[in-house]
Amino acid sequence: MPPQAGAVIIHPTAEGAILDGMQAAGTASGRDRGSAFSEFVQPEIPVLLRVAYTLTGSAADAEDLVQETLIRAYRALDGFDGAHPRAWLLTILRHTSHNLRRRTRPDLVGEWDTLTDFRPVFGARRPPTPDDVVLSDVLEADLDSAIASLDEKFRAVLVLVDVHGLTYAECSQSLGIPVGTVMSRLSRARDRVRRRLRDSGRFS
């Protein structure tokens, strides 16, 4: 049974302590509660944007999706048990993505050409180091080609886990598939990309 808003709950985790703060704030005023929620979710925004980008293939759509997700999360806060905040947000992100796609019927997700086309907008987080430049010269063409050759369902798992650093469980939450399926798809995706890179001389 989900806790009631404002209820006092003892959590052993930092996230739980934050949640307690939000619930306590909920008894004070909506504005305080909003501030506490905003502070709580802000560290997760980059991860949510990465996952949203993988799901939508568009930087603009990813931002819209994350904004909608956070609003829905705020409204669903009273049903959140505080145990796994990132997983909770990723689940809401997936459901929101599904609902928005059903509503607007956009293009299919995962078109690799679209993803790479958006790189200048979405990939300007920091200027590349000299090592990055050298590495990207060597890797980009091979990696692009190898990853583009994957079926969409394998590519999504590889990108979420190995490129964006999600755990198996977080990837499972994001895509709505069991952890075992994440593992098997990841294994096959890695092997296919590895073989392609080996064939192109990257691994000798």
Binding site: G34, V41, E63, Q67, L70, I71, Y74, D162, H164, L197
Partner: protein, 92 residues
């Protein structure tokens, strides 16, 4: 150089565990016995060690590639501002 049946079986068994061994993901941990067995096998098998190195190199390459692909600061800022505006409206 031919491999004994025992070597083939050991390679097969440990290769199936190799990605979990390298990932150390909390959702799919190897037991301590399995960890020791994989480590022992890698210390003796050049082919599986080579495979492990390829997985490590691939993972590193993708991570490095991903560090350039991450969301830019402006995108994060825009989402934060939109969230703040939305929460203000929710609070009103």
């Amino acid at each position: 150089m031919s491999m004994s049946l025992r070597q083939v079986v050991a390679c097969h068994r440990n290769r199936r565990r190799l990605q979990r061994f390298l990932d150390r993901d909390p959702a799919a941990p190897l037991s301590s016995t399995e960890m020791v067995e994989v480590e022992h096998h890698l210390s003796q098998c050049e082919r599986c060690t080579g495979l492990a190195e390829e997985y490590r190199a691939l993972h590193w390459s993708l991570q490095t590639w991903g560090s350039v692909l991450g969301p830019d600061d402006e995108a994060v800022r825009r989402v934060r501002e939109a969230l703040d505006r939305a929460l203000e409206n929710e609070g009103d």
